[in-house]
């Protein structure tokens, strides 16, 4: 790489790595405030988290970039680009691209809680990209803050020198100036010649209804300006740049951006799928020979069916998914039909959180009432005739006699836990078909356990269980490992003798009996009594492995109904009717929505 130019000497590109709740957003706010990028008055709390959902869940989903101008102690004014990163395992790839756009990162650790698994995973990612890491111990104002212990943990666990870790409290503003000075002094300035061909890394994008896709990028070499013809190297699509600009944090247009800088562009790109995170933007007239490393086409890990409660809302659901997709390149969907639920969509997500977010957005922003089927991973099936299938829906599994082998995705799970819960965590991992790989004491009382386990077990209820068995202290990170052959079978559920396709699941044979038992019991408690008796059966093939019965409703009557009761009793009936309407009629049985997720919630 070339020399750092005079201009680049005053640029610093950095991210913040932090666990959920460790105060990243508040810290970002303080940095904006301190540098005058936004006045206190302008700041609605936590500027970087845009969506309501993110704020509610305290999780950053969409990465963003903000340019700060900081007059340092040396008297120079520096351009600091803060590239925000998502903080959840579902979005690991997005994090890696954001980190690849930086030269350094602030590692923010809660002074009371210490390092968590997700933080660790992201620090390793940052180290892989040779980022300069500045440890910040946040929330030192807390009464139970123990910065010395956290410092030691940073040194022991990550192997970073934490002797000059900055002690901060984003809440009361302590240490903000020290952080800004450390960014200027420690993080290297970007390199890269502005005369070479353009190479810019896309680390995020969003869809604007007027301008099309807004791509967020970091220029590694070359320059970019409005009117320029660009090419996206992974998709080979060409566009003409309409405008470019920077976030301060509002969008401000500029005439040109050069190597080392961070900004956005609009080029009349109609679909985020043409502008993928990790892709390289180059000059269409003078293309770079090689794209930047690290691009991956990310594929969904978890699938579920989404169906409108009201059959008539199918078109609304399709429109809503089309709109969401504009903003979310990792969401995939295709139409599917279920005997039980009618017309809907099979949707693919990066993980469970991503799935929940999409569902909630569909319900909240588009006013839809949805039924979600239990999530499933993708199984690979080798048929006896040699054909290979990818199964994203249990219903699509071929008949047993045609199957040679079924393969399921395994992940490597890193679980960080206080050492007194090691036994409980190991027991849980065993229950979940985990294969023990390694255990390491990070400090006297913190342990990281490494297991290989089926992804299906993780999406089942692993995380909830992990949290409950460790009183909320354990944290989890995982990544895809490989497909492995497993002894799997399809378990069907029959209501009133009729199979309900949307309740089918693929389970490990050794667990089928137990799961079947638990599921029919759960369904019995969820399905309300109706005018006739409803047998609930779990079956593998034609063999029934568990059975429960919802007894017929015998009494549903209001004994007294006189003049003063009519309005009140009618309201009760209306409420009852409302509840009935929310249920899905399958054959003659009315099934509440939550029944379709019951597969997940059984004990």
């Amino acid at each position: 790489m070339s020399e750092v130019s005079q201009r680049q000497k005053k640029i610093r590109n950095f991210s913040i790595i932090a666990h959920i709740d460790h105060g990243k957003s508040t810290l970002a706010d303080r940095l904006l405030e301190y540098t005058g990028t936004l006045s206190k008055r302008e700041m609605s709390e936590q500027v970087l988290d845009k969506m309501d959902l993110e704020r509610e869940r305290g999780i950053t989903i969409k990465a963003q970039a903000v340019r700060l101008e900081y007059k340092a102690e040396d008297g120079e004014v520096y351009e600091l680009n803060l590239i925000d990163t998502p903080g959840h395992v579902d979005f690991t790839y997005e994090v890696s691209r954001s980190l690849a756009a930086c030269e350094g990162a602030l590692l923010v650790v809660d002074a009371a809680q210490g390092i968590e698994a997700q933080t660790l995973a992201n620090v390793y990612l940052a180290l892989e990209h040779n980022l300069e890491i500045i440890p910040v111990i946040n929330k030192i104002d807390l009464p139970n803050a123990d910065p010395d212990r956290v410092k030691k943990e940073i040194e022991d666990v990550i192997g970073l020198d934490a002797s000059d870790a900055i002690l901060a409290s984003a809440k009361d503003g302590t240490g903000i100036k020290d952080i800004l000075e450390a960014i200027v002094k420690k993080i290297p300035a970007p390199k890269g010649s502005e005369d070479e061909s353009l190479k810019a890394l896309i680390f995020d994008s969003h869809f604007d209804p007027y301008k099309g896709v807004i791509a967020y990028f970091r220029i590694v070499s070359g320059r970019i300006y409005p009117g320029m013809k660009i090419q996206l190297m992974a998709t080979n699509k060409q566009f003409e740049v309409n405008e470019i600009g920077v976030f301060r944090p509002h969008m401000v247009l500029v005439d040109e951006l050069r190597a080392g800088e961070v900004g956005f562009l609009a080029a009349g790109i109609k679909n985020v799928k043409n502008c993928r995170v990790g892709d390289t933007i180059t000059d269409a007239e003078r293309p770079a020979e090689e794209p930047l490393p690290g691009y991956k086409k990310i594929t969904p890990m978890v699938y579920c069916g989404l169906y409108p409660v009201e059959t008539n809302d199918y078109d609304l659901l399709r429109d809503a998914l089309e709109k969401l997709e504009l903003n979310d390149a990792s969401l995939v969907y295709e139409p599917e039909t279920s005997v039980a639920l009618g017309f809907g969509f099979r949707c693919g997500f990066l993980g469970l959180l991503h799935m929940e977010i999409v569902q909630e957005r569909l319900e909240r922003e588009y006013g839809l009432s949805l039924i979600a089927t239990a999530p499933s991973v993708i199984y690979e099936v080798l048929k006896k005739d040699g054909e290979k299938l990818r199964i994203d829906n249990p219903v699509k599994l071929p008949p047993v006699q045609e199957i040679e082998a079924i393969y399921e995705p395994y992940v490597e799970a890193n679980i960080m836990t206080p050492s007194n819960f090691v036994g409980a965590v190991m027991e849980l991992c065993q229950e979940k078909r985990g294969e023990f790989k390694n255990m390491e004491y990070l400090s006297e009382n913190r342990v990281v356990l490494i297991y290989h386990m089926p992804l299906s077990e993780i999406i089942y209820d692993f995380f909830d269980k992990l949290k409950s068995r460790t009183k909320g202290y354990a944290s989890l990170d995982y990544q895809f490992l490989e497909y492995r052959a497993s002894n799997l079978v399809k378990m069907d559920i029959l209501l009133n003798g009729e199979p309900v396709d949307a309740l089918s699941s693929i389970v490990h044979k050794d667990k089928a009996f137990y799961r079947g038992r638990a599921l029919v019991e759960k369904l019995r408690s969820i399905i309300p009594r109706q005018l006739f008796e409803i047998p609930i059966q779990a079956a593998i093939g034609s063999k029934v492995i568990a059975r429960e019965t919802v007894k017929a409703l015998r009494k549903d009557v209001l004994a007294k109904c006189y003049g003063g009761d009519i309005t009140r009793k009618r309201k009760l009936l209306e409420k009852q009717k409302e509840g009935k309407k929310k249920m899905k009629q399958v054959g003659s049985v009315e099934i509440p929505q939550e029944a379709f997720m019951a597969v997940l919630k059984i004990e």
Binding site: L531, K560, K577
Partner: protein, 381 residues
């Protein structure tokens, strides 16, 4: 159907509240009673004008509560002579009053008789003193029997007695005894209600805390079935889900509700259905008095009943009656093709054995009585 108008008057006072009761009632205070009656008089005067303007007269009167008979004689006299007398009534109509066995004496009964009350409704609830105690009733069995014979002696020939089943600690034998013994007294009318735990009542809380147990649903159903068979055998005809009478003694006032005729409700918390509106008075005695003293009707909620709603309510209420409802007549009256509208639903309900059709009227089957809400739901939009 001949148009009728009922009048309900609410007396929101009780000696003490029963532990299952969530009705609008207050402890008895003389000073409050007088203010309340004065307000009631104002409300009567307003309705006198309304009725005269509409050229309408009252068919039936029903005074309920609370406990109307807990009022002192002079207050009852005031109610009859200075309040009720203001409203135009058709002669010879049913005039019911709710009485609590613990609050009746001969003088009071004479006064009721003189005022023209011709039907008494008494809450007995159970024949067993231990069950009465468990409900927080102020009377025991003996007091009920005394009151009952006093009423008969003074010439009351139309008496209703309420019984309840599904009570805490009640057995099937208790229930059979209650019915048998009551029928021996030969009242003209019997109402049987299943106890419903209402949120916020003392009994509800006791149940929540596990301090009282209730009979299972199966036992409750058995009790209801038993009552149906037993009372029918003894000559009482069921004419509504919870109501039985000797022939010709159906409660005319209550029939007005179920036939979806008009009624006026006066007093705190009372409900009316009049001129296309359902509305209700303020529950609180103070609010009720406050508004009347300032020359306003004390109406708290008001709802217009459109045609669709009227049809639905007419069906839902009408189906409570054993005679059921004449859908063709209702269709002609409303100009809506109800058969077409409900055809599919009717078929489904018929197939499930919940309703029946005798060529003229649609009604609940015996199975449908206990599942009536499931039937009503089909008629709600």
């Amino acid at each position: 159907m001949e148009e009728k108008l009922g009048l309900y008057i609410h007396i929101p006072f009780c000696v003490s509240k029963c532990n299952y009761c969530d009705f609008n009632s207050y402890p008895l205070e003389q000073n409050k009673v007088e203010k309340y009656l004065a307000a009631l008089q104002l409300e009567m005067a307003s309705y006198r004008e309304i009725l005269e303007y509409n050229m309408k007269k009252i068919d039936t009167v029903y005074i309920g509560g609370g406990t109307p008979t807990c009022l002192a004689g002079k207050h009852l006299a005031y109610l009859f002579d200075y309040c009720l007398s203001l409203l135009p009534r058709k002669p010879g109509g049913e005039f019911s009053l709710e009485a609590n066995p613990g609050t009746l004496d001969r003088a009071k009964i004479k006064l009721l008789k003189k005022a023209g009350v011709n039907r008494i409704s008494m809450g007995l609830q159970a024949w067993q003193d231990r069950l009465l105690k468990g409900l927080g009733r102020i009377h025991d069995l003996d007091e009920f029997i005394d009151s009952y014979f006093l009423l008969k002696e003074e010439g009351f020939t139309n008496i209703n007695v309420d019984l309840m089943f599904g009570l805490p600690g009640q057995t099937m034998d208790d229930w059979a005894e209650s019915l048998t013994k009551l029928v021996e007294l030969n009242p003209q009318h019997i109402s049987v209600y299943s106890l419903k735990l209402e949120e916020g009542t003392e009994l509800f809380n006791l149940f929540q805390q596990g301090k009282v147990g209730l009979p299972s649903e199966d036992v409750e159903i058995e009790m209801y079935d038993y009552a149906l068979d037993f009372l029918t055998e003894k000559g009482y005809k069921q004419y509504e889900i919870s109501n039985f009478s000797l022939p010709g003694y159906e409660c005319q006032h209550n029939l007005i509700y179920w036939e979806h005729q008009q009624y006026l409700g006066l007093g705190a918390g009372a409900h009316s259905y009049f001129n296309g509106y359902r509305y209700s008075n303020y529950n609180s005695i103070n609010d009720y008095i406050f508004h009347l003293e300032r020359g306003r009707l004390p109406i708290e909620t008001k709802e217009a009943i459109n045609l669709q709603r009227r049809i639905e309510d007419t069906i839902i209420l009408g189906l409570r009656l054993n005679k059921g409802i004449d859908l063709k007549e209702l269709a002609e009256e409303t100009g809506e093709d109800l058969i077409l509208l409900y055809d599919e639903k009717l078929e489904r309900l018929k197939k499930r054995g919940l309703i029946q059709f005798n060529g003229k009227n649609l009604s609940l089957t015996r199975k449908g009585l206990l599942l009536s809400n499931q039937v009503f739901l089909e008629f709600i939009c």
